[in-house]
Protein backbone atom coordinates (compact mmCIF):
# COMPACT_ATOMS: atom_id res chain seq x y z
CA UNK A 1 0.00 0.00 0.00
CA UNK A 2 2.71 2.42 0.99
CA UNK A 3 4.62 1.79 -2.18
CA UNK A 4 1.55 2.27 -4.21
CA UNK A 5 0.79 5.55 -2.51
CA UNK A 6 4.28 6.77 -3.18
CA UNK A 7 4.02 5.67 -6.77
CA UNK A 8 0.77 7.49 -7.03
CA UNK A 9 2.28 10.72 -5.83
CA UNK A 10 5.05 10.47 -8.41
CA UNK A 11 2.49 9.71 -11.05
CA UNK A 12 0.35 12.64 -10.05
CA UNK A 13 3.25 14.96 -10.65
CA UNK A 14 3.87 13.64 -14.12
CA UNK A 15 0.72 12.86 -15.96
CA UNK A 16 -2.66 14.34 -16.45
CA UNK A 17 -5.44 14.01 -13.94
CA UNK A 18 -7.81 11.73 -15.71
CA UNK A 19 -5.30 9.01 -16.30
CA UNK A 20 -4.21 9.33 -12.74
CA UNK A 21 -7.69 8.88 -11.39
CA UNK A 22 -8.21 5.67 -13.30
CA UNK A 23 -4.84 4.46 -12.09
CA UNK A 24 -5.67 5.28 -8.50
CA UNK A 25 -9.00 3.53 -8.69
CA UNK A 26 -7.40 0.33 -9.91
CA UNK A 27 -4.24 0.35 -7.84
CA UNK A 28 -5.40 1.33 -4.45
CA UNK A 29 -7.68 -1.60 -3.79
CA UNK A 30 -6.91 -2.57 -0.22
CA UNK A 31 -7.36 -6.26 -0.92
CA UNK A 32 -4.42 -8.67 -0.65
CA UNK A 33 -3.25 -10.13 -3.90
CA UNK A 34 -0.86 -12.95 -3.01
CA UNK A 35 -0.67 -15.59 -0.37
CA UNK A 36 2.23 -17.81 0.53
CA UNK A 37 1.83 -21.35 1.85
CA UNK A 38 2.99 -20.04 5.19
CA UNK A 39 0.17 -17.50 5.15
CA UNK A 40 -2.30 -20.21 4.23
CA UNK A 41 -1.34 -22.65 6.94
CA UNK A 42 -0.84 -20.12 9.68
CA UNK A 43 -4.29 -18.61 9.11
CA UNK A 44 -7.22 -19.75 11.21
CA UNK A 45 -8.70 -21.63 8.27
CA UNK A 46 -5.30 -23.08 7.36
CA UNK A 47 -4.90 -24.47 10.85
CA UNK A 48 -8.28 -26.13 10.60
CA UNK A 49 -7.29 -27.40 7.21
CA UNK A 50 -4.25 -29.09 8.70
CA UNK A 51 -6.48 -30.73 11.27
CA UNK A 52 -9.06 -31.76 8.70
CA UNK A 53 -6.65 -33.16 6.12
CA UNK A 54 -4.55 -35.09 8.64
CA UNK A 55 -7.79 -36.24 10.24
CA UNK A 56 -9.06 -37.63 6.96
CA UNK A 57 -5.74 -39.38 6.41
CA UNK A 58 -5.99 -40.94 9.87
CA UNK A 59 -9.53 -42.01 9.13
CA UNK A 60 -8.32 -43.92 6.08
CA UNK A 61 -5.56 -45.41 8.19
CA UNK A 62 -8.16 -46.62 10.68
CA UNK A 63 -9.92 -48.50 7.90
CA UNK A 64 -6.71 -50.28 6.88
CA UNK A 65 -5.77 -50.99 10.49
CA UNK A 66 -9.19 -52.36 11.18
CA UNK A 67 -9.17 -54.51 8.06
CA UNK A 68 -5.81 -56.12 8.91
CA UNK A 69 -6.72 -56.69 12.54
CA UNK A 70 -10.07 -58.19 11.64
CA UNK A 71 -8.08 -61.10 10.17
CA UNK A 72 -7.66 -62.28 13.75
CA UNK A 73 -11.27 -63.43 13.67
CA UNK A 74 -10.35 -65.95 10.98
CA UNK A 75 -9.43 -68.05 13.95
CA UNK A 76 -13.06 -68.18 14.96
CA UNK A 77 -14.15 -69.74 11.68
CA UNK A 78 -11.18 -71.87 10.71
CA UNK A 79 -10.35 -74.22 13.51
CA UNK A 80 -6.74 -74.66 12.39
CA UNK A 81 -6.01 -70.97 11.76
CA UNK A 82 -4.72 -70.09 15.23
CA UNK A 83 -3.96 -66.57 14.13
CA UNK A 84 -2.15 -67.55 10.93
CA UNK A 85 -4.08 -65.22 8.65
CA UNK A 86 -3.65 -62.32 11.04
CA UNK A 87 0.06 -62.95 11.47
CA UNK A 88 0.56 -63.17 7.73
CA UNK A 89 -1.35 -59.97 7.13
CA UNK A 90 0.61 -58.18 9.82
CA UNK A 91 3.84 -59.49 8.37
CA UNK A 92 2.84 -58.35 4.91
CA UNK A 93 2.23 -54.87 6.22
CA UNK A 94 5.46 -54.83 8.18
CA UNK A 95 7.73 -56.11 5.44
CA UNK A 96 6.60 -54.12 2.44
CA UNK A 97 8.89 -51.20 1.65
CA UNK A 98 6.14 -48.99 0.35
CA UNK A 99 4.08 -49.49 3.45
CA UNK A 100 7.07 -48.84 5.67
CA UNK A 101 7.55 -45.55 3.90
CA UNK A 102 3.89 -44.71 4.33
CA UNK A 103 4.34 -45.55 7.99
CA UNK A 104 6.70 -42.62 8.29
CA UNK A 105 4.03 -40.46 6.73
CA UNK A 106 1.52 -41.89 9.15
CA UNK A 107 3.62 -40.92 12.13
CA UNK A 108 4.29 -37.54 10.68
CA UNK A 109 0.58 -36.92 10.24
CA UNK A 110 -0.30 -38.30 13.65
CA UNK A 111 2.15 -35.96 15.29
CA UNK A 112 1.09 -33.07 13.08
CA UNK A 113 -2.50 -33.74 14.08
CA UNK A 114 -1.54 -33.90 17.76
CA UNK A 115 0.72 -30.86 17.79
CA UNK A 116 -1.54 -28.71 15.63
CA UNK A 117 -4.47 -29.87 17.71
CA UNK A 118 -2.88 -28.73 20.93
CA UNK A 119 -1.68 -25.49 19.38
CA UNK A 120 -5.15 -24.78 18.02
CA UNK A 121 -6.72 -25.52 21.39
CA UNK A 122 -4.35 -23.12 23.09
CA UNK A 123 -4.86 -20.53 20.31
CA UNK A 124 -8.62 -20.74 20.56
CA UNK A 125 -8.70 -20.69 24.34
CA UNK A 126 -6.53 -17.60 24.40
CA UNK A 127 -9.17 -15.63 22.48
CA UNK A 128 -11.39 -15.18 25.52
CA UNK A 129 -9.32 -13.87 28.40
CA UNK A 130 -12.36 -13.26 30.62
CA UNK A 131 -14.73 -16.18 30.68
CA UNK A 132 -18.45 -16.38 31.33
CA UNK A 133 -19.98 -16.93 34.74
CA UNK A 134 -22.67 -19.10 33.19
CA UNK A 135 -21.39 -21.51 30.60
CA UNK A 136 -23.01 -21.80 27.18
CA UNK A 137 -23.24 -25.54 27.73
CA UNK A 138 -24.93 -27.80 25.25
CA UNK A 139 -27.33 -25.35 23.65
CA UNK A 140 -26.85 -26.23 20.03
CA UNK A 141 -23.52 -27.98 20.27
CA UNK A 142 -22.60 -31.47 21.47
CA UNK A 143 -20.29 -31.96 24.44
CA UNK A 144 -17.94 -34.09 22.37
CA UNK A 145 -17.60 -31.47 19.65
CA UNK A 146 -16.49 -29.00 22.30
CA UNK A 147 -14.14 -31.56 23.88
CA UNK A 148 -11.99 -32.61 20.96
CA UNK A 149 -8.84 -31.62 22.83
CA UNK A 150 -9.76 -33.74 25.83
CA UNK A 151 -10.85 -36.70 23.71
CA UNK A 152 -7.69 -36.37 21.65
CA UNK A 153 -5.60 -36.44 24.81
CA UNK A 154 -7.34 -39.61 25.99
CA UNK A 155 -6.68 -41.17 22.61
CA UNK A 156 -3.04 -40.09 22.80
CA UNK A 157 -2.64 -41.72 26.24
CA UNK A 158 -4.23 -44.85 24.85
CA UNK A 159 -1.96 -44.71 21.82
CA UNK A 160 1.16 -44.56 23.97
CA UNK A 161 0.09 -47.67 25.84
CA UNK A 162 -0.92 -49.28 22.57
CA UNK A 163 2.50 -48.59 21.06
CA UNK A 164 4.20 -49.98 24.15
CA UNK A 165 2.14 -53.14 23.83
CA UNK A 166 2.61 -53.83 20.16
CA UNK A 167 4.50 -51.41 17.99
CA UNK A 168 7.65 -51.08 20.13
CA UNK A 169 8.06 -54.87 20.59
CA UNK A 170 7.45 -55.52 16.93
CA UNK A 171 9.89 -52.87 15.73
CA UNK A 172 12.51 -52.76 18.42
CA UNK A 173 12.40 -55.06 21.41
CA UNK A 174 11.37 -58.20 19.57
CA UNK A 175 8.42 -60.55 19.43
CA UNK A 176 8.29 -64.34 19.65
CA UNK A 177 8.40 -65.78 16.15
CA UNK A 178 6.32 -68.31 14.32
CA UNK A 179 6.98 -70.15 11.05
CA UNK A 180 4.47 -70.68 8.24
CA UNK A 181 5.57 -72.67 5.18
CA UNK A 182 9.16 -71.90 6.00
CA UNK A 183 8.68 -68.17 6.43
CA UNK A 184 9.46 -66.83 9.86
CA UNK A 185 7.44 -63.93 11.20
CA UNK A 186 6.35 -62.26 14.41
CA UNK A 187 3.60 -64.05 16.24
CA UNK A 188 1.58 -60.93 16.85
CA UNK A 189 -1.48 -63.08 17.48
CA UNK A 190 0.15 -64.68 20.48
CA UNK A 191 1.25 -61.27 21.71
CA UNK A 192 -2.32 -60.09 21.52
CA UNK A 193 -3.53 -63.13 23.37
CA UNK A 194 -1.15 -62.57 26.25
CA UNK A 195 -1.74 -58.84 26.35
CA UNK A 196 -5.49 -59.17 26.47
CA UNK A 197 -5.47 -61.67 29.30
CA UNK A 198 -5.39 -58.78 31.76
CA UNK A 199 -8.80 -57.31 32.46
CA UNK A 200 -7.48 -53.76 33.08
CA UNK A 201 -5.88 -53.73 29.64
CA UNK A 202 -9.14 -54.76 28.03
CA UNK A 203 -11.02 -52.06 29.91
CA UNK A 204 -8.40 -49.51 28.94
CA UNK A 205 -8.68 -50.47 25.28
CA UNK A 206 -12.45 -50.26 25.38
CA UNK A 207 -12.22 -46.79 26.94
CA UNK A 208 -9.73 -45.82 24.24
CA UNK A 209 -12.18 -46.98 21.60
CA UNK A 210 -15.02 -45.02 23.19
CA UNK A 211 -12.87 -41.87 23.14
CA UNK A 212 -12.07 -42.57 19.52
CA UNK A 213 -15.76 -43.00 18.76
CA UNK A 214 -16.70 -39.62 20.15
CA UNK A 215 -13.65 -38.00 18.58
CA UNK A 216 -14.77 -39.38 15.23
CA UNK A 217 -18.41 -38.48 15.76
CA UNK A 218 -17.40 -34.84 15.53
CA UNK A 219 -14.12 -35.14 13.64
CA UNK A 220 -15.39 -37.07 10.65
CA UNK A 221 -18.06 -34.62 9.52
CA UNK A 222 -16.11 -31.60 10.73
CA UNK A 223 -13.13 -32.57 8.59
CA UNK A 224 -15.27 -32.58 5.48
CA UNK A 225 -16.81 -29.24 6.36
CA UNK A 226 -13.32 -27.88 6.82
CA UNK A 227 -12.24 -28.91 3.38
CA UNK A 228 -15.28 -27.12 2.07
CA UNK A 229 -18.10 -29.59 1.52
CA UNK A 230 -21.10 -27.31 1.87
CA UNK A 231 -23.80 -28.79 -0.35
CA UNK A 232 -26.65 -29.99 1.78
CA UNK A 233 -26.86 -33.30 -0.04
CA UNK A 234 -23.24 -34.27 0.64
CA UNK A 235 -23.25 -32.79 4.09
CA UNK A 236 -26.23 -34.91 5.07
CA UNK A 237 -24.61 -37.97 3.57
CA UNK A 238 -21.25 -37.34 5.22
CA UNK A 239 -22.82 -36.61 8.57
CA UNK A 240 -24.67 -39.93 8.44
CA UNK A 241 -21.58 -41.72 7.26
CA UNK A 242 -19.56 -40.04 9.98
CA UNK A 243 -21.83 -41.25 12.76
CA UNK A 244 -21.89 -44.75 11.29
CA UNK A 245 -18.10 -44.72 11.04
CA UNK A 246 -17.76 -43.39 14.58
CA UNK A 247 -19.87 -46.26 15.90
CA UNK A 248 -18.78 -49.16 13.72
CA UNK A 249 -15.00 -48.69 13.63
CA UNK A 250 -14.41 -48.20 17.38
CA UNK A 251 -16.88 -51.03 18.04
CA UNK A 252 -14.93 -53.40 15.81
CA UNK A 253 -11.68 -52.35 17.46
CA UNK A 254 -13.18 -52.76 20.91
CA UNK A 255 -14.39 -56.26 20.08
CA UNK A 256 -10.81 -57.37 19.45
CA UNK A 257 -9.59 -57.28 23.06
CA UNK A 258 -13.02 -58.34 24.29
CA UNK A 259 -13.23 -61.46 22.13
CA UNK A 260 -9.64 -62.31 23.01
CA UNK A 261 -10.29 -61.86 26.72
CA UNK A 262 -13.43 -63.94 26.63
CA UNK A 263 -11.54 -66.62 24.80
CA UNK A 264 -13.75 -66.61 21.71
CA UNK A 265 -10.66 -66.38 19.55
CA UNK A 266 -8.01 -69.04 20.10
Amino acid sequence: MLIWNRAKILYIKKINWHLCLIFAAISSQPILTSMTWKQVFSSSIGRKLTMGLTGIFLITFLIVHMGINACMWAAVYFKDDHGEMFNKAANFMGSMVVIRIIEFGLFFFIFLHIIQGYMLTVYNRSKRAVGYAVDYGSKGSKWYSRSMGLLGTLILLFLIIHWLHFWIPSRFTGVEEVEYNGVKMHNMFALMQTTFQQLWVVILYVLGCISLGYHLAHGFQSAFKTIGVHNKRYQTMLTGLGYAFAIVVPFVFAMMPITMYLGWVK
Binding site: A25, Q29, P30, I31, L32, T33, S34, M35, T36, Q39, V40, S43, S44, I45, G46, R47, K48, L49, L120, Y123, N124, R125, S126, K127, R128, A129, V130, G131, Y132, A133, V134, D135, Y136, G137, K139, G140, S141, K142, S145, R146, M148, H218, Q221, S222, F224, K225, T226, I227, G228, V229, H230, K232, Q235
Partner: protein, 254 residues
Protein backbone atom coordinates in the same frame (compact mmCIF):
# COMPACT_ATOMS: atom_id res chain seq x y z
CA UNK B 1 -52.33 -15.08 26.82
CA UNK B 2 -52.63 -14.59 30.57
CA UNK B 3 -50.58 -11.72 31.89
CA UNK B 4 -48.84 -11.92 35.21
CA UNK B 5 -46.41 -9.92 37.30
CA UNK B 6 -43.17 -11.23 38.69
CA UNK B 7 -40.24 -10.43 40.91
CA UNK B 8 -36.81 -11.35 39.68
CA UNK B 9 -33.26 -11.56 40.93
CA UNK B 10 -30.80 -10.08 38.49
CA UNK B 11 -27.07 -10.60 38.53
CA UNK B 12 -25.64 -8.06 36.13
CA UNK B 13 -22.06 -7.44 35.03
CA UNK B 14 -20.92 -3.92 35.92
CA UNK B 15 -17.72 -2.47 34.56
CA UNK B 16 -16.88 1.22 34.45
CA UNK B 17 -14.67 1.19 31.38
CA UNK B 18 -12.34 -1.06 29.43
CA UNK B 19 -9.58 -0.74 32.01
CA UNK B 20 -11.80 -1.57 34.98
CA UNK B 21 -11.84 -5.17 36.24
CA UNK B 22 -15.59 -5.37 36.56
CA UNK B 23 -17.83 -7.37 38.89
CA UNK B 24 -21.33 -8.75 39.24
CA UNK B 25 -23.97 -6.71 41.00
CA UNK B 26 -27.21 -8.15 42.36
CA UNK B 27 -30.55 -6.44 41.87
CA UNK B 28 -34.07 -7.37 42.78
CA UNK B 29 -36.82 -6.09 40.52
CA UNK B 30 -40.50 -6.26 41.36
CA UNK B 31 -43.73 -5.80 39.50
CA UNK B 32 -42.35 -6.88 36.14
CA UNK B 33 -45.18 -7.58 33.72
CA UNK B 34 -45.01 -10.64 31.51
CA UNK B 35 -45.85 -8.36 28.59
CA UNK B 36 -42.66 -6.32 28.93
CA UNK B 37 -39.70 -6.91 26.73
CA UNK B 38 -36.45 -7.86 28.38
CA UNK B 39 -34.96 -4.45 27.65
CA UNK B 40 -38.03 -2.72 29.05
CA UNK B 41 -37.37 -4.62 32.26
CA UNK B 42 -33.88 -3.08 32.17
CA UNK B 43 -35.47 0.33 31.54
CA UNK B 44 -37.55 -0.12 34.68
CA UNK B 45 -34.47 -1.08 36.68
CA UNK B 46 -32.47 1.83 35.27
CA UNK B 47 -35.20 4.34 36.10
CA UNK B 48 -35.13 3.05 39.64
CA UNK B 49 -31.34 3.24 39.85
CA UNK B 50 -31.37 6.83 38.61
CA UNK B 51 -34.00 7.81 41.16
CA UNK B 52 -31.92 6.17 43.86
CA UNK B 53 -28.96 8.24 42.72
CA UNK B 54 -27.06 5.28 41.30
CA UNK B 55 -25.50 4.76 37.88
CA UNK B 56 -27.86 3.07 35.43
CA UNK B 57 -26.66 -0.02 33.60
CA UNK B 58 -25.22 0.78 30.18
CA UNK B 59 -26.29 -1.55 27.39
CA UNK B 60 -26.43 -1.28 23.61
CA UNK B 61 -29.83 -1.17 21.93
CA UNK B 62 -31.45 0.81 19.18
CA UNK B 63 -34.18 -0.41 16.87
CA UNK B 64 -35.80 -2.78 19.40
CA UNK B 65 -37.35 -4.75 16.59
CA UNK B 66 -34.65 -7.32 16.05
CA UNK B 67 -32.93 -5.99 12.95
CA UNK B 68 -30.25 -3.41 13.79
CA UNK B 69 -28.08 -5.91 15.65
CA UNK B 70 -27.09 -3.46 18.33
CA UNK B 71 -28.47 -5.26 21.40
CA UNK B 72 -26.12 -7.75 22.93
CA UNK B 73 -26.67 -9.48 26.25
CA UNK B 74 -25.51 -12.91 27.30
CA UNK B 75 -28.41 -14.11 29.42
CA UNK B 76 -28.16 -17.20 31.62
CA UNK B 77 -25.49 -18.68 29.42
CA UNK B 78 -26.94 -17.83 26.02
CA UNK B 79 -26.49 -14.82 23.77
CA UNK B 80 -29.84 -13.05 23.27
CA UNK B 81 -31.53 -15.23 25.90
CA UNK B 82 -33.53 -18.44 25.79
CA UNK B 83 -35.72 -18.03 22.70
CA UNK B 84 -34.65 -19.43 19.37
CA UNK B 85 -33.97 -17.14 16.37
CA UNK B 86 -34.34 -14.09 18.55
CA UNK B 87 -32.60 -10.93 19.67
CA UNK B 88 -32.66 -9.61 23.27
CA UNK B 89 -34.91 -6.73 22.30
CA UNK B 90 -37.56 -9.18 21.09
CA UNK B 91 -37.27 -11.40 24.15
CA UNK B 92 -40.31 -10.89 26.36
CA UNK B 93 -40.66 -11.45 30.06
CA UNK B 94 -43.20 -14.21 29.72
CA UNK B 95 -40.13 -16.36 29.13
CA UNK B 96 -39.59 -16.12 32.90
CA UNK B 97 -41.58 -16.83 36.01
CA UNK B 98 -41.80 -15.26 39.41
CA UNK B 99 -38.67 -15.66 41.50
CA UNK B 100 -36.31 -16.54 38.65
CA UNK B 101 -32.66 -15.58 38.82
CA UNK B 102 -31.21 -14.10 35.64
CA UNK B 103 -27.48 -13.64 35.07
CA UNK B 104 -26.64 -11.03 32.43
CA UNK B 105 -23.13 -10.72 31.02
CA UNK B 106 -21.63 -8.84 28.10
CA UNK B 107 -20.35 -10.62 24.98
CA UNK B 108 -17.01 -12.08 26.00
CA UNK B 109 -14.15 -12.16 23.52
CA UNK B 110 -10.79 -10.45 23.35
CA UNK B 111 -11.82 -9.01 20.01
CA UNK B 112 -14.90 -7.43 21.65
CA UNK B 113 -13.49 -5.40 24.55
CA UNK B 114 -16.04 -4.19 27.08
CA UNK B 115 -16.68 -0.44 26.82
CA UNK B 116 -18.96 -0.19 29.81
CA UNK B 117 -21.16 -2.65 31.70
CA UNK B 118 -22.88 -4.71 29.00
CA UNK B 119 -21.62 -2.66 26.04
CA UNK B 120 -18.82 -4.06 23.92
CA UNK B 121 -16.79 -2.69 21.03
CA UNK B 122 -17.65 -4.57 17.85
CA UNK B 123 -15.72 -2.36 15.45
CA UNK B 124 -13.66 -5.43 14.52
CA UNK B 125 -16.64 -6.47 12.40
CA UNK B 126 -16.49 -3.20 10.48
CA UNK B 127 -12.79 -3.70 9.83
CA UNK B 128 -13.44 -7.20 8.54
CA UNK B 129 -15.93 -5.75 6.06
CA UNK B 130 -13.42 -3.05 5.16
CA UNK B 131 -10.97 -5.81 4.24
CA UNK B 132 -13.15 -6.83 1.32
CA UNK B 133 -16.78 -7.36 2.25
CA UNK B 134 -18.10 -5.44 -0.71
CA UNK B 135 -18.27 -5.32 -4.47
CA UNK B 136 -15.99 -2.65 -5.89
CA UNK B 137 -18.44 -0.69 -7.96
CA UNK B 138 -18.62 3.07 -7.94
CA UNK B 139 -21.89 4.95 -8.06
CA UNK B 140 -22.99 5.42 -11.63
CA UNK B 141 -21.14 2.39 -13.03
CA UNK B 142 -24.12 0.09 -12.95
CA UNK B 143 -25.77 -1.56 -15.90
CA UNK B 144 -29.48 -2.34 -15.99
CA UNK B 145 -30.59 -4.44 -13.05
CA UNK B 146 -32.11 -7.10 -15.27
CA UNK B 147 -29.14 -7.40 -17.62
CA UNK B 148 -27.71 -10.06 -15.37
CA UNK B 149 -30.22 -12.84 -14.65
CA UNK B 150 -29.54 -14.59 -11.35
CA UNK B 151 -30.83 -18.06 -10.59
CA UNK B 152 -33.60 -17.71 -8.02
CA UNK B 153 -32.20 -20.37 -5.71
CA UNK B 154 -28.85 -18.65 -5.67
CA UNK B 155 -30.39 -15.24 -5.08
CA UNK B 156 -32.40 -16.73 -2.21
CA UNK B 157 -29.35 -18.42 -0.70
CA UNK B 158 -27.40 -15.20 -1.03
CA UNK B 159 -30.20 -13.34 0.71
CA UNK B 160 -30.35 -15.92 3.49
CA UNK B 161 -26.67 -15.23 4.19
CA UNK B 162 -27.05 -11.46 3.77
CA UNK B 163 -29.69 -11.44 6.53
CA UNK B 164 -26.86 -11.39 9.11
CA UNK B 165 -27.34 -8.42 11.42
CA UNK B 166 -23.74 -8.34 12.65
CA UNK B 167 -24.73 -8.58 16.31
CA UNK B 168 -21.80 -10.81 17.26
CA UNK B 169 -23.85 -13.47 19.06
CA UNK B 170 -21.95 -16.11 17.07
CA UNK B 171 -18.68 -14.91 18.55
CA UNK B 172 -20.19 -14.74 22.02
CA UNK B 173 -21.53 -18.29 21.81
CA UNK B 174 -18.44 -19.85 20.25
CA UNK B 175 -16.07 -21.50 22.67
CA UNK B 176 -13.24 -20.28 20.44
CA UNK B 177 -14.62 -16.72 20.07
CA UNK B 178 -14.55 -17.31 16.35
CA UNK B 179 -16.14 -14.83 13.96
CA UNK B 180 -16.34 -17.42 11.22
CA UNK B 181 -20.15 -17.43 10.97
CA UNK B 182 -20.25 -13.65 10.54
CA UNK B 183 -17.44 -13.70 8.02
CA UNK B 184 -18.81 -16.68 6.12
CA UNK B 185 -22.23 -15.04 5.84
CA UNK B 186 -20.65 -12.05 4.09
CA UNK B 187 -18.41 -14.20 1.88
CA UNK B 188 -21.33 -16.45 0.93
CA UNK B 189 -23.62 -13.50 0.26
CA UNK B 190 -21.19 -12.06 -2.27
CA UNK B 191 -19.74 -15.31 -3.63
CA UNK B 192 -23.17 -16.59 -4.60
CA UNK B 193 -23.82 -13.62 -6.88
CA UNK B 194 -22.23 -13.09 -10.28
CA UNK B 195 -21.49 -9.50 -9.30
CA UNK B 196 -19.19 -10.81 -6.57
CA UNK B 197 -17.25 -13.07 -8.90
CA UNK B 198 -14.35 -10.78 -9.97
CA UNK B 199 -13.11 -10.19 -6.44
CA UNK B 200 -14.11 -13.55 -5.06
CA UNK B 201 -10.67 -14.94 -4.27
CA UNK B 202 -9.05 -11.77 -3.05
CA UNK B 203 -12.04 -11.05 -0.87
CA UNK B 204 -11.96 -14.27 1.10
CA UNK B 205 -8.20 -14.22 1.63
CA UNK B 206 -8.18 -10.62 2.73
CA UNK B 207 -11.17 -10.92 5.04
CA UNK B 208 -9.84 -14.04 6.75
CA UNK B 209 -6.49 -12.33 7.30
CA UNK B 210 -8.26 -9.39 8.90
CA UNK B 211 -10.37 -11.66 11.08
CA UNK B 212 -7.24 -13.38 12.38
CA UNK B 213 -5.59 -10.04 12.99
CA UNK B 214 -8.53 -8.90 15.07
CA UNK B 215 -7.97 -11.77 17.47
CA UNK B 216 -10.91 -14.06 16.79
CA UNK B 217 -10.40 -17.80 17.22
CA UNK B 218 -10.63 -20.56 14.64
CA UNK B 219 -13.81 -22.49 13.93
CA UNK B 220 -14.13 -26.04 15.16
CA UNK B 221 -17.58 -26.64 13.69
CA UNK B 222 -19.36 -27.13 17.01
CA UNK B 223 -22.49 -25.41 15.74
CA UNK B 224 -23.06 -23.21 18.80
CA UNK B 225 -23.08 -20.12 16.58
CA UNK B 226 -25.81 -21.45 14.33
CA UNK B 227 -27.94 -22.42 17.32
CA UNK B 228 -27.77 -18.93 18.79
CA UNK B 229 -27.96 -16.86 15.59
CA UNK B 230 -31.05 -14.60 15.66
CA UNK B 231 -31.27 -14.76 11.87
CA UNK B 232 -30.65 -18.50 11.49
CA UNK B 233 -27.50 -18.09 9.42
CA UNK B 234 -26.53 -21.62 8.48
CA UNK B 235 -23.32 -23.32 9.52
CA UNK B 236 -22.95 -24.53 5.94
CA UNK B 237 -21.84 -20.99 5.10
CA UNK B 238 -18.66 -21.73 7.03
CA UNK B 239 -18.06 -24.82 4.91
CA UNK B 240 -18.58 -22.62 1.85
CA UNK B 241 -16.11 -20.11 3.24
CA UNK B 242 -13.58 -22.92 3.72
CA UNK B 243 -14.05 -23.98 0.13
CA UNK B 244 -13.64 -20.43 -1.12
CA UNK B 245 -10.49 -20.06 0.94
CA UNK B 246 -9.06 -23.38 -0.19
CA UNK B 247 -9.65 -22.60 -3.85
CA UNK B 248 -8.22 -19.12 -3.44
CA UNK B 249 -5.08 -20.45 -1.77
CA UNK B 250 -4.58 -23.35 -4.15
CA UNK B 251 -4.90 -21.14 -7.21
CA UNK B 252 -2.91 -18.22 -5.86
CA UNK B 253 -0.27 -16.95 -8.24
CA UNK B 254 2.55 -16.90 -5.75
Amino acid sequence: MEHYNMSLHLKVWRQNNSRDKGHFENYKVDGISSEMSFLEMFDVLNERLITEGKEPIAFDHDCREGICGMCSMYINGKPHGPWKSNTVCQLHMRAYKDGDTIVVEPWRANAFPVIKDLMVDRSAFDRIVQAGGYISVNTGNAVDGNSLPIEKDKADASFAAAMCIGCGACVAACKNSSAMLFLSAKVAHLALLPQGEPERKKRVVSMVAQMDKEGFGACTNTGACEATCPKDISLSNIARLNQEYLIASLTADK
